[in-house]
């Protein structure tokens, strides 16, 4: 009996990365609000936020819902799989989100993402140094 209970409570935590595009109709504040909504959803449901990136307003390679630009935002988090489906349902229900993609990262993916972040941080540091020198 104990064994079965153990299996039931066993949690499979994976690293996920999700990018979504918001309509360009929103003001900066509204965009921030949307992002905050999803961030709250994730953290409330027990996801551990690892990283976040705001790409700002970007041109789309092809029009989506007759829009040619969009606000891109990226979340990287650790959570169980059932949270992803919940997140995607919320994406679909939200009119402000015009496109989204969630991927699970394999071990190479995690490695890559962490390396990239490190490089970026170092670059930013160097640039900061240069600026202070000048």
């Amino acid at each position: 009996m104990n064994e079965i209970n153990k299996l039931k409570t066993h949690k499979m935590v994976r690293r996920y990365e999700t990018v979504f595009i918001m309509t360009p109709v929103l003001s900066d504040e509204q965009a921030k609000e949307t992002v905050q909504k999803f961030r709250k959803l994730l953290t409330d449901k027990g996801a551990q936020m690892k990283h976040e990136e705001d790409w700002g307003l970007k041109k789309l390679a092809y029009p989506i819902q007759k829009k040619t630009t969009g606000f891109y935002h990226l979340f990287e988090f650790e959570a169980e799989g059932n949270l992803v489906s919940e997140l995607e349902v919320n994406y679909k229900r939200d009119e402000r989100v015009i496109r989204f993609l969630t991927v699970s990262l394999d071990k190479y993916g995690v490695e890559f993402v962490e390396k990239r972040r490190k490089l970026k941080a170092e670059k930013a540091k160097e640039e900061g140094k240069k600026e202070t020198e000048v």
């Binding site: 990018v19 595009i21 390679a61 969009g70 496109r99 394999d106 190479y108 993916g109 890559f112 990239r116």
Partner: protein, 91 residues
């Protein structure tokens, strides 16, 4: 006059180029890249022709393993409108 005696066979001023086949190689195996990022459109553009179609392995020399990953990354990038599905003159 010696030349005329030898001159039966054809002579070239410049040595002719005999086309030697350059062996293609998988750049991911060579550079030890193990993960292909779908967010990096500038990199993925190398594996796409100017209509936005994915280039075959036969041309790029990528190994099967990485061709699969490349195509997946390109498809993801297309979904996020980082790469176009169809265009002309992409490059």
């Amino acid at each position: 006059m010696k030349m005329a005696q030898q001159g039966n066979d054809i002579r070239y001023l410049t040595p002719i180029n005999i086309e030697t086949k350059k062996k293609k190689y998988c750049r991911f195996k060579k550079a030890r890249i193990r993960y292909i990022d779908y967010k990096d459109a500038e990199f993925l553009i190398k594996f796409v022709n100017d209509q936005g179609k994915i280039l075959p392995r036969r041309i790029t020399g990528t190994s099967t393993k990485f061709q699969k990953k490349i195509s997946r990354a390109i498809k993801r990038a297309r979904h996020l409108a980082l790469l176009p599905f169809v265009t002309d003159l992409l490059k």
